[in-house]
């Protein structure tokens, strides 16, 4: 959003308490999640949106498929090593303000699967705001986590959420990360040169609250 940049640049010395409360109230009341259901927790996330446990009451009305229109990414399910760069790319595509809820034991810390294939905790890839334990957590727990996130949102300040300039964002997403079928790897013995998946963007230094 341009508002934060404008405020931060134009009024660096001014406290923005009232403005903060208003904007944070607006943000917390309409947190739109990005669909990032990976495995079993995704089904419980779907259960949280259905009529018995209605997540839409708390503002999470629409699950946006495009990350560019989403506020919160609920990582529900185990993140495998092949999926990890994709996760990072989706996170980078979300505009500020954005939050991450790590749902379930596998997203929080690898869960039952302490082996070669699963990333042991999604906080090795993206900064997480709320962790939910459980395998899978009940839908009520997801609703509680959304409410905890809302409390967290209320405590933030507007100037924390400045958007990242375009060049830096474009550098962070390396195109060509997904493989294209181009024949057999049975006879290739060379290691492809390692490339960085992303650069650490500014948001990751703000992990304190």
């Amino acid at each position: 959003m341009g508002l934060e940049n404008v405020i931060a640049e134009a009024l660096p010395e001014v406290l923005t308490t009232r403005l903060d409360s208003l904007i944070n109230w607006a943000r917390k009341s309409s947190l739109w999640p990005a669909t990032f259901g990976l495995a079993c927790c995704a089904i419980e996330m779907m259960n949280a949106t259905t009529s018995r446990n209605d997540l839409a009451r708390f503002g999470a009305e629409v699950f946006r498929a495009s990350p560019r229109q989403a506020d919160v990414m609920i990582v529900s399910g185990r993140v495998s090593r092949k999926m990890a760069p994709v996760l990072r790319r989706i996170y980078d595509q979300m505009p500020e303000p954005k939050w991450v809820i790590s749902m379930g034991a596998c997203a929080t810390s690898g869960g039952v699967f302490d082996n070669y294939a699963i990333v042991q905790g999604v906080d090795k890839i993206v900064p997480v705001d709320v962790y939910i334990p459980g395998c899978p957590p009940r839908p009520e727990m997801l609703i509680h986590a959304v409410m905890m996130l809302q409390d967290k949102v209320m405590k933030e300040s507007v100037r924390d959420r400045r958007d990242v300039p375009e060049e830096e964002a474009r550098q962070a997403v390396v195109p060509g990360t997904l493989p294209v079928t181009d024949g057999s790897t049975a006879r290739q013995n060379t290691l492809p040169e390692s490339r960085p998946y992303t650069i650490a963007s500014r948001h990751e230094r703000r992990r304190s609250s």
Partner: protein
Amino acid sequence: MSSATIPPQFEIVDQPLDTQMTISMGPQHPSTHGVLRLELVLDGEMVVKTTPDIGYLHTGMEKLFEYKKYQQGIVITDRMDYLNPLGNNLAYVMAAEKLLGLEIPTRAQVIRVLMCELQRIASHLVWLGTHALDIGAMTVFFYCFREREKILNLIEAASGGRMTPSYFRIGGLMMDLPAGFENRCKQFLDNFPKAVDEFHTLLSGNRIFQRRTQGIGTISAEDAIDWGLSGPCLRGSGVNLDIRRANPYSGYENYDFEVPTEPDGDVWARYMVRMREMKESHKIATQALARLQPGSVKADAPKVVLPDREAMKSHMDALIHHFLIVAEGFDVPAGEVYHPIEASKGELGVYMKSDGGPKPNRVHFRGPSFVNLSALPMMAEGEMVADIVAIIGSLDVVLGEIDR
């Protein structure tokens, strides 16, 4: 465009307009039912070729089984086909029982059949909800999940977990059904056929749904068998094959049910097969509920099956057995078995190889979704992009089972 440099692998070559483009659908996509990536080669809107790219949910479960004792592996099987966890449990447990040569008491077998059929209904409800949601009917999604909540309540009452119950054990069940379960189950089963009729009213007569599903994604019976399809996908092409009839297990030969088949082989046929299967599952579940007789739910094998807690607290040998089973596990005779069951998606087979110790040497799950998805390129050639969504929905793929 600003001053961003284009990486060298994407250099623009001056060529006349090529009508074909390759795009990547997924892995994060609302309609691929999980983290599936499809590489589509499109000619305008028509699909020329599609290649599924899987592995985004690969969890290394088969390797984990080799490091865990047999009873610890039951927990992992829940997470495989997460819409049908009791089916996965059953396949694994029955393979181990085949190796051990255990005989399961009747009450345990009847409860296994009852829970598996309830689980099959729950799995088909999720299929119907998400399939209809992809095609555009949003109401059906909420109605299906409302019915599914009732089944999840029942499973949670019996085992403690809604979606990861781990209810079956090697040699029987975890514990007996709680008090009042039969009444609640009967209440659900009495009201269920009305719900299926409601879904039919919403979807089957709807011209939009019919236009979007009839004639789409056709596969013939010979191709279906050649590609290894099983379950409703195979029965939707006219092949009358159901593992519950072909290689019966757990007492299925005593139940009276039909195997629905449809001749056309398109999305509509698979839809009708699964709707009719829900009614057949309801029939089997009602019969199973009527057959429940008091009895034991664990096999008579003290070295394999955990004793009852009261016995464990009062008898010394039960305590010793409990300790040994939990701490060291039990030795399973060396050998290999392949045990297939009819899961909600098709033939779920477990290949279990033991070398005589408490941990298996190799466990392999033949996931039906893995094989069903391999037939997608054939079904999708020549269809529009929007039809791909309908075809994937009709195949009923669960990525947890494909990638394991």
